[in-house]
């Protein structure tokens, strides 16, 4: 990864995540001009330089006493110079590498409301990705609202995806309809869908093992956007992305029957 590219983003978010970002940036060797002056001392570096500074003054050893020997801060260091949490101890570059890579491009918080999400560029990108899926699948078309329509609200759901180590690797925004407002016979008919049983999966595994063939898996992205529905369903425009002008041309029937109503 090129850190020069990432620098603006990192700096931008520096205030919020100062706790863990600053030591990382130091260790990965990037030059952050605004920080180099005050951040020259880190726990790791200090231990190597401890001898040179052994006879210094202005010391605090408030924390050092209850830490393991190797984590202790040399007595000759003022605590103001230590960046990050002293209790975290030494971390190596390799463990932080992964962490650092995603840090710049992924938001670390899960917004509660759309307004919160719209303030973060990463979440806006995630929301655009989701809306592009809608466009790609031609899920809906825009029409003006009439009094006869039973309009179902929509809602944004924000979720951070973690990897095995619990590090956030992806911001996922999903636009969902408030299906609890649907009425049977008007907005939906049959809803039953068969789902595989675990016994069936185990049987398949046993059968595959017996016949010595490998099983593979894959999944469909945004599966539910692919279905064609039979009923006409009107949903409100996604919050934060609404368009106010009415476009009549969208009324011509497409493959899907989901209609958007305009907010105006």
């Amino acid at each position: 990864m090129n850190f020069d590219e990432a620098n603006p983003v990192m700096q931008e978010r520096h205030e919020t995540y100062a706790d863990y970002e600053s030591p990382i940036i130091q260790q990965t060797g990037t030059e952050l001009e605004n920080k180099t002056e005050e951040t020259s001392v880190l726990p790791e570096i200090q231990s190597t330089e401890a001898e040179d500074q052994s006879a210094e003054q202005g010391v605090t050893d408030r924390i050092s006493s209850d830490l393991p020997k190797e984590w202790r801060i040399p007595r000759n260091l003022s605590l103001d110079n230590v960046i990050g949490q002293v209790q975290k101890g030494v971390s190596t570059r390799s463990t932080l590498n992964q962490f650092c890579e995603h840090m710049a491009f992924v938001s670390q918080t899960e917004p509660k409301t759309v307004a919160d999400a719209l303030e973060d560029s990463n979440w806006i990108t995630a929301m655009h990705e989701e809306l592009n899926q809608f466009a790609r699948n031609e899920v809906w078309s825009l029409i003006s609202r009439t009094s006869k329509m039973n309009v179902i609200g929509t809602k944004w759901v924000f979720k951070n995806k973690l990897d095995e180590n619990g590090v956030i690797v992806r911001n996922k925004a999903r636009l969902v309809a408030k299906g609890y407002n649907q009425e049977e016979g008007i907005d939906h008919g049959e809803t039953y869908a068969p789902v595989a049983r675990l016994e069936a999966v185990r049987l398949l595994l046993a059968y595959a093992s017996m016949n010595r063939f490998k099983l593979y898996q894959m999944d469909v992205k945004s599966a539910f956007l692919n279905g064609y529905i039979d009923e006409e369903v009107y949903v409100s425009q996604p919050q934060g992305f609404g368009r106010s002008q009415v476009s009549q041309s969208c009324l011509q029937a497409k493959e899907s029957n989901v209609w958007l109503e305009t907010s105006a």
Binding site: R202, Q217, M218, I229
Partner: protein, 252 residues
């Protein structure tokens, strides 16, 4: 669109009609299994909502299936089946292992039992659980959470089935004694975290079923408890344990 009541059904409809149009046959019993035979080769496709497991006697058929699917839907990469619905699957040349080690560890962590003592059995043979009206009540939500988590673990662990089902009968009014019986199961899991199922190769494909029952095993209403298991060749594929619906007068 996500959230609509008909969304899962319409997705199944779309996927199944796509597969049927590509000369796949839908399973007669299991409607989520799709089969295609060509010459002596067979391809099996099992659908779990948006997850698809597939395998074939001929590798080329798998690739062909993947490309046809990719042409119609936006798919993730095809990968070997190793983690599905919390089941860890290890496919080797001569055998397949199925376990829920990861899930089991998380379960122990969830109930703060990561460093508990081990126990060799999930339940004592003389364990006597009744409604225990005089006992002190425990948090119902926590107890139900424990039972629910353990029930999912049964997907690869028939050994704890009986004891979990026994504990599950007291969910309406859980007492201290029931909760400690549940914790005893966790202590057993601590010892047997990595236990799972083993599916060997090269065995004859015949289905064998066993069943058994005790006599008046339930101390509260004197009903019997029966259990069954089914083996395909020598691989265990299905099992159950259930209290019978009516009071039995004999074991026969």
């Amino acid at each position: 669109m996500y959230g609509l009541k008909q969304a899962p059904r319409q997705w199944y409809e779309r996927l199944s009609s796509f597969l049927l149009s590509h000369s796949y046959e839908r399973g007669k019993i299991d409607k989520t299994l799709f089969i295609k035979k060509s010459c002596s080769n067979i391809i099996l496709v099992q659908v779990y909502v948006d997850d698809i497991i597939f395998g074939s006697t001929n590798e080329n058929l798998c690739k062909q299936f993947f490309t046809t699917m990719q042409g119609e839907f936006e798919m993730s990469m095809m990968g070997e089946l190793n983690y599905f619905l919390g089941l860890q699957i290890k496919q080797l040349n001569h055998e397949t292992f199925l376990s829920q080690t990861k899930y089991c560890k998380e379960l122990l962590k969830k109930f703060n039992m990561e460093s508990c003592k081990e126990s060799a059995t999930p339940m004592a043979t003389n364990c006597y659980l009744d409604s225990d009206d005089k006992g002190t009540s425990v948090d119902q939500t926590k107890y139900r959470g424990l039972i629910g988590s353990l029930l999912y673990l049964i997907a690869s662990r028939p050994d704890i089935m009986f004891s979990v089902c026994l504990c599950a009968r007291f969910q309406a009014n859980p007492k201290e004694s029931h909760f400690s019986a549940g914790k005893r199961i966790l202590k057993y899991l601590q010892r047997t975290t990595t236990v799972g199922l083993w599916y060997p190769t090269n065995v004859s494909l015949n289905l064998v079923g066993y069943s058994d029952s005790d006599f008046a095993g339930c101390k509260i209403d004197r009903k019997s408890i029966s259990g069954t298991c089914h083996l395909l060749g020598s691989s265990l594929v299905s099992w159950h344990s259930k209290k019978q619906a009516c009071v039995a007068l004999s074991t026969a």
